[in-house]
Symmetry: C2
Subunit: 211 residues, 2 copies
């Protein structure tokens, strides 16, 4: 009886069920677009159960976004790792993965960014800041291995491309966005790796690492 207790009446299972439904609904409807009652109805649980597991709607939002941040981070790391040792290949693989995501039906931008932008205080913004830190870790590694003069700066420029791509693909249309942004990221990587001395001086100046 260490693990795998009964099939039904499993608190962990219930929690997962709520989280899964909340992930879908909060993404589709927005943080304020659905009430706790509606959430419970779609998850097939009672309000009391939801509040026992998450304490408040805010708690549910935090747990949902943190789980999502974990999944996305893992997903991108694996995409990069599977692309072999070349930094440019890894970066290309990351943006290939993102491009596939943008093209999925029901894509509405980055759930974490969307949530963070709806309330300027609360859990969502903290999760979003941490989420971007994680992206930066991955990108700085790639930038450093590519020999970028300023890996931190290049990583941040590519992060801007990632976040911007989600917004543009969502609000302005997906067509070509994935490929175009992939090429832009690779161009920045090339320009930075080509050395501080390009045909016209380096592409990135010395700036703070920020945040």
């Amino acid at each position: 009886m260490p693990v795998d207790k009964g099939v039904t009446l499993d608190p962990a299972r219930t929690r997962e069920q709520i989280l899964q439904v909340a992930t879908e609904v909060l993404y589709e409807q927005g943080l304020d677009g659905v009430g706790v009652a509606g959430l419970c109805a779609r998850a097939g649980v009672s309000k009391e159960t939801l509040y026992r597991h998450f304490g408040s709607k805010e708690g549910l939002v935090r747990a949902t976004l943190e789980a999502r941040s974990d999944r996305v981070t893992r997903w991108l790391r694996e995409a990069a790792a599977a692309a072999g040792p070349e930094p440019a290949d890894q970066l290309g693989a990351v943006f290939d993965a993102l491009a596939g995501w943008y093209a999925e039906p029901g894509f509405r931008g980055c759930a974490i960014v969307n949530a963070a932008v709806q309330h300027h205080e609360g859990a969502a913004r903290e999760v979003a800041a941490r989420h971007m830190d994680r992206h930066l870790e991955l990108l700085s590694g790639i930038a450093a291995r590519a020999g970028a003069a300023e890996p931190g700066v290049l990583a941040r420029q590519i992060l801007v491309l990632m976040e911007g791509a989600a917004v543009v693909a969502d609000l302005h249309g997906v067509d070509g966005t994935g490929r175009q942004v992939r090429e832009a990221a690779l161009a920045l990587l090339r320009a930075s790796a080509a050395g501080g001395r390009g045909p016209e001086a380096g592409s990135a100046r010395k700036t703070a690492t920020a945040r």
Copy 2:
């Protein structure tokens, strides 16, 4: 009596007052973060007046965002025009202007994008799509004058940088974001203007114009 009727009791004045307050409040609190009653209180008008002018909260949101889109578009066009004839200077001036905006106290990202992301239907998304079209117009002109192989593609890549920069500056911190993104945009411009044949093939492939 053709124009400039009385000083007080001027419907156009009242409308402007409501719009101005709505611009601030909807940006600070979010679309769902404030009720019509609160809006009226801050604007010093009655609900009846607001509804007579805008018909509904949605109508107020649309009018507010459209006015904002007009102002931002004009602002960026003037920044570019004031920078002289060189495309690279114009692009640099646009991103300088944006960098200044990110650093302003109370900056919370692009109001139009933020609004559009909160509801997946409604006026905000239409305004946002049109807003980006206007940005694209400006950027394509610069790209074309710079001799970019594919001005439309380059413009879209730079648009992604613009929108991403606002998100990152808002959620991850402003430090350096403005300069870094400015340099990234200029690097893309250089890479694209250097000719389709770089050291490693062009930076942008043939893709649909999107949307």
